[in-house]
Symmetry: C3
Subunit: 144 residues, 3 copies
Amino acid sequence: MELNAALQAAVWWSAILLLKLATFGPIVGFTRTKRKVVANEEDAKFKGGATVSTSDPVVERSRRAHLNDMENIIPFIGLIFVYAISGAGDAGCVTLVSQIFTAARFIHTIVYLGQVRQPARALAFFTGLLCNVYMAVKVLLHLY
Amino acid sequence: MELNAALQAAVWWSAILLLKLATFGPIVGFTRTKRKVVANEEDAKFKGGATVSTSDPVVERSRRAHLNDMENIIPFIGLIFVYAISGAGDAGCVTLVSQIFTAARFIHTIVYLGQVRQPARALAFFTGLLCNVYMAVKVLLHLY
Amino acid sequence: MELNAALQAAVWWSAILLLKLATFGPIVGFTRTKRKVVANEEDAKFKGGATVSTSDPVVERSRRAHLNDMENIIPFIGLIFVYAISGAGDAGCVTLVSQIFTAARFIHTIVYLGQVRQPARALAFFTGLLCNVYMAVKVLLHLY
């Protein structure tokens, strides 16, 4: 299957963002190991000395950062493809929106885990959101 | 890239549902601001007078509504595309399933946030679920 | 729209995994009914005798299993498609990665719900993760 330039850009940036998303689970897992806090009894038995808890502040923070990534990256993946295949955006637009979004989401994670003071995280969040809303509106106007 | 009618319908309805999904995060955020309940200490510092809590009933309700949307809309986006590109459904079928699903999910959100008595939410949920299961089964039978 | 063999394999395995994902919500719901533990007051009114709680260990375990499926299956769906359409993987590779991943995720669910002792769940999890990371890296190297 031949890909046009816009679709190829969508594939490239999707792969980067999906790699980020897929590796966030293990990061939460390593945080659990480091904090010796697990969610299941069978995990506590396996990792001697770990406590079963779902309220460790550091672990819960990393879980919220992960969930926020899911809530934003997954709509992005869907939208960048409908944006590219509908022709609402050309290769340059797909690349630009993807670069802004990817930068915003990496900054969001760093700011969230690093507990940087607000409005740093809010700005990163709204930048990513704006990319998603922009693409959805463009696609709807383009096909209307 | 030229889109056939079925794929174009899938793109259109995906854009609407992804727009709904992407804007649900900020709705939860506004609920937090209104209830003066935040999840992180740096947010409490930024919004003077807010309390750090993950147990406010109104905020948690909106979070569950959001999560339920993710659990259902995301499989739908995947399925409507495999349904359209596999040829298991033509443009009319793609549109009809999308309309039913979209209506069901908007009703689900209104009923959930408005705390309408059951089985209103259950009916909306199962209507959406049925659309997803229907498409998956159709695709599998079509390709088998 | 004609599908090449790689894309057809991606469609087939996506349909199976999306069916698994879409039906996990109701499984959590049935667990709630069986345990008589619901998340909302209107649900408690509807199901006489049910308690409103978000801390029942069996329900929370099924919710974690569901969430873990979302965190892994959704990136997989995105990646299997970019892997197939980019040409980074042919039909044989797409099928093989999908079979390994699908087996790993079904084992993960059984092990999680059945409370099998570790490292059973960890092994299933990392097998699935490896499939995702493998595809992302292959796509990025292929397009670079």
